[in-house]
């Protein structure tokens, strides 16, 4: 009598690979569908840039700002880890993360800003009102550099270590939690 449940067990076992393949196939199908309507974008998966140097770029300074512009040469071998922060005055989450950036700035962490699709006057007003955490500030008016970096949206922040390699990428505002739980340990590790 034990032969029958045994056979059933064997049937189920033999069907398991088919189940896995079917599930994976369905997933791939939705990925392809998402690729076509734009809701699935693998280019924003950070694996492409992590542990690699940033793509080459050369941005002019923001007109009227007291900072020099930013180019990939400035990131090649910084004396200490730096943050590269894509931001814009029109972005609400940028206001949320701004106090954390100011705190880091007061502690002496170098933060390089890239002003993303922003009018210089608006950007300067934003900094005059809320404080200026940046040491360098590049103007990416057409948003081309952001595309090369694979920026998902503003704000977005990258940590570049002393070898000039991207070690961390965060899409979204750096809240106090993110700062304390993720960013500070990383800054210590790569210091």
């Amino acid at each position: 009598m034990s032969a029958r449940p045994d056979l059933l067990r064997r049937r189920l076992l033999a069907a398991a690979p088919l189940g896995v393949v079917a599930a994976a196939g369905a997933g791939f199908w939705f990925m392809l569908a998402g690729l076509q309507d734009g809701s699935f974008n693998p280019r924003s998966v950070p694996s492409a840039l992590l542990n690699r140097p940033p793509p080459p770029f050369d941005l002019p300074p923001v007109e009227g700002a007291p900072h020099p512009g930013l180019s990939s040469a400035d990131l090649r071998a910084p004396a200490r880890p730096v943050l590269v922060n894509f931001w814009a005055s029109w972005c609400v989450p940028c206001i949320i993360e701004h106090p954390q950036l100011m705190a880091l700035h007061r502690e002496g962490v170098p933060i390089y800003g890239i002003s993303y699709k922003d009018r210089p006057a608006d950007a300067l007003r934003f900094l005059a009102e809320r404080g200026d955490p940046y040491r360098r500030l590049g103007a990416d008016l057409p948003g081309r550099v952001a595309i090369d970096w694979g920026v998902y949206g503003v704000p977005e922040t990258y940590l570049i270590d002393r070898q000039g390699l991207i070690r961390w990428r965060f899409a979204g505002p750096i809240t106090a939690d993110v700062l304390n739980q993720d960013l500070r340990p990383l800054l210590r590790r790569y210091a």
Binding site: L7, R10, R11, L13, A14, A15, P17, L18, V21, A22, A24, G25, G27, F28, W29, F30, M31, L32, G34, L35, Q36, F40, P42, R43, S44, V45, P46, S47, A48, L50, N51, R52, A73, R76, A77, Y152, Q163, G164, R169, A171
Partner: protein, 654 residues
């Protein structure tokens, strides 16, 4: 005219492949000898048609026919002839044509050399290969026609991705395709066995050489790819756990497991269902790799021009072949009776352990590669699974694998005892321990690299112990031992050499664990000390290549004030396509690589990145040694004749 002929040849090939897929299959079902006999000439005709199509495409590239869209997009008249020809398969369309040509070659090989096979099995295998060819040919003709014309013809081509204009990358895809196609052949054997509902020793004897050949090509393909990444991408690394690299590693792991489990089928008649599953899995993973690279679902330096429409087609093929195969497996496998119960401590047991560990490794790589994609799909969260995950997750599996790898071949079939095996390995263990302590002392007490050195030494000494044991060296007089060495089956030599090759690669990886690098800006005439040399930058000047210009740094290395060598890293600019590549300069003495990359220049000084990579070349030498081991094993008389149990008379006559 040539493109039309090529296009026609491919259309002809599609018709032939459909006939090849259908007629022998019906014949095998009805036991109709005439229909089954159609398989052999059809396979030869398909080979002729695909070779004609491929040759036509090569000809278009060689004469730089700019009325062909594919040539316009991927070639240029200023390119050296070698790279014009290798450019044929450096793009999506051409690589697919190469793929079906190699597949047709394998089917023709099964047709020509498979006369010893039972005719039903041979007909079914050729039919399945025909079905796979049909799918890929349909894919080429409907979504990726390489012979599409443009009118009016473009004045000249748009050049090839300069990163691909390189000998390593000219070799990398064909080698990998040979490996992938080899998994298609073992897949066809597995399907034929499932249809028949029977797996026997002769089946195992036929699958093993194909698995072995496929594995050897995959090994070489991966080694060449890794070598290319090392010298061309200029990051000084050899393996990045890039999704596309993982896509080629997964079939390799499955093929490794398959060629070991096929031994058990052949020798002991056990593990049959599992071996069939592995054969299906190896092909499924190589199809998955094709899908991931070409559909655009993931993005990497290696990815071909992504096109979701193509992705849909490949996914449909994946569903049809892989889904169909696993459905057949679910239907037929439960009725195949498992046989051959054996003791866990035996050669079979060791091979099962090998299979389990390799499959777990494969699963780790699969999960690490697909998890970010699925997480993004399901939750919109973006994460990156990088080298830390792969290193941490694969190490606990790789260590027992390495430990067991040396002991497995020393175990007898059926029933073994651990103690005598360990006794025969005591000096290998001693060598490994010595390597560990020596590495620890010399390399400044760094644990992981030292462990890597121990693993490499253990594997090489273990392989040597295997041979010493088999020929009874030191126990018999030397002459008798040498006579036994000559009489030893080549498969045994092949296995020992391949295992030693893994050891050599392990030593290379361990050596790279001790690599050092520095980044420095030098003005001409200045120098720096690094890795025991004084590196003097003499000058940076312009340099003219055939279709590129370059800035070339000239560096002289001095030791104790004497000039010992010069290095000249370049930054190349390709005006057609407006891209820049870095050409690392590498000086090797087989014990270490010195590696220099020229970065940008500012205010009269040049940024140089210098690496010192101990034992780096051993990583790829190990791969070559593994492939040589496989080749020696393939040249074994028993493998060449195959199916000895079924036709002993033929075996003796040959």
């Amino acid at each position: 005219m040539i493109p039309e002929l090529g296009h026609f040849a491919l259309a002809m090939a599609l018709a032939l492949s459909v006939a090849q897929a259908v007629l022998p299959l019906i014949g095998a079902q009805r036991r109709d000898a005439r229909l089954m006999a159609a398989a052999v000439p059809l396979a030869h005709a398909l080979l002729l048609a695909t070779v004609a199509g491929f040759a036509a495409l090569v000809a278009c590239y060689a004469i730089n026919d700019t009325s062909v869209l594919n040539v316009v997009q991927n070639s240029h008249s200023a390119k050296p002839m070698l790279y014009k020809i290798t450019g044929t398969w450096g793009n999506h369309e051409g690589s697919m044509v190469l793929w079906v040509t190699v597949l047709a070659l394998c089917a023709a090989a099964v047709a020509s050399f498979g006369r010893d096979l039972p005719s039903v099995l041979q007909a079914r295998v050729i039919a399945v290969l025909g079905a796979i060819s049909a799918g890929f040919l349909l894919f080429i003709l409907t979504t990726s026609n390489p012979f599409e014309r443009v009118w009016p013809p473009a004045p000249d081509g748009q050049g090839l991705n300069p990163l691909l204009q390189d000998i390593g990358l000219a070799l990398h895809p064909p080698l990998l395709y040979m490996g992938y196609v080899g998994t298609a052949v073992t897949f066809a054997f597995a399907i034929a066995a499932l249809i028949e509902g029977r797996v026997d020793a002769a089946w195992g004897a036929w699958v093993r050489p194909w698995a072995l050949a496929s594995w050897a090509f995959l090994t070489l393909g991966i080694a060449v790819g890794s070598w290319w990444a090392y010298y061309e991408l200029g990051w000084g690394g050899y393996w990045f756990w890039d999704p596309v690299e993982n896509a080629s590693l997964m079939p390799w792991l499955a093929a490794t497991a398959l060629l070991h489990s096929a031994i058990v089928v052949e020798k002991r008649g056990a593990l049959k269902i599992w071996t069939v599953l592995l054969a299906l899995l190896a092909f499924a993973l190589s199809m998955l790799g094709t899908f991931l690279v070409r559909s655009g679902v993931l993005n990497s330096v290696h990815a071909f021009a992504a096109d979701p429409a193509r992705g849909v087609f490949i996914l449909a093929m994946l569903a049809f072949y892989v889904g169909g195969a696993f459905a057949l497996f679910a239907w037929r496998a439960p009725s195949m009776v498992p046989q051959g119960v054996f003791a866990p401590l035996s050669r079979e047991g060791a091979l099962v352990l090998n299979n389990l560990l390799l499959c777990c490794l494969c699963a780790v790589v699969l999960v690490g590669t697909l998890y970010p994609l699925f997480l993004d799909l399901l939750t919109d969260r973006l994460i990156s699974v990088g080298p830390p995950f792969f290193n941490i997750a694969s190490l606990p599996l790789a260590l027992p694998l390495v430990a067991a790898m040396a002991a497995g071949p020393l175990m007898p079939w059926k029933r073994a005892e651990l103690w005598p095996v360990l006794q025969r390995l005591w000096w290998a263990a001693l060598v490994a321990l010595a390597a560990f302590l020596l590495a620890l002392a010399l390399a400044g007490y760094r644990f992981w690299p030292a462990l890597g050195f121990a693993a490499g030494a253990w594997l090489i000494a273990g392989a040597a112990a295997d041979i010493v044991e088999r020929i009874a060296l030191f126990r018999l007089p030397l002459a008798a031992a040498l006579a036994r060495a000559r009489g030893l089956p080549r498969a045994a030599w092949g296995a020992a050499i391949a295992h030693a090759g893994v050891g050599v690669t392990a030593l290379g990886i361990a050596g790279m664990g001790l690599a050092t690098e520095t980044l420095i800006a030098l003005k001409p005439g200045e120098s720096t000390r690094f890795a025991g040399y004084e590196w003097r930058l003499d000058q940076v000047r312009d340099y003219q290549g055939p279709n590129w210009t370059a800035r070339r740094a000239e560096i002289t290395l001095l030791q104790d004030g004497r000039e010992v060598m010069t290095m000249s890293p370049q930054r190349r600019f390709f005006p057609i396509g407006r891209t820049t590549t870095t050409e690392a300069s590498i000086r090797t003495n087989f014990l270490r690589d010195l590696y220099a990359v020229l970065g940008e220049e500012r205010d009269g000084s040049a940024v140089l990145r210098l690496h010192h990579n101990p034992l780096a070349p051993w990583i790829w030498f190990g791969g070559i040694i593994m492939a040589i081991g496989a080749g020696i094993s393939l040249s074994d008389r028993r493998v060449r004749i195959a199916a000895p149990a079924r036709k002993p008379a033929v075996a003796q006559a040959a």
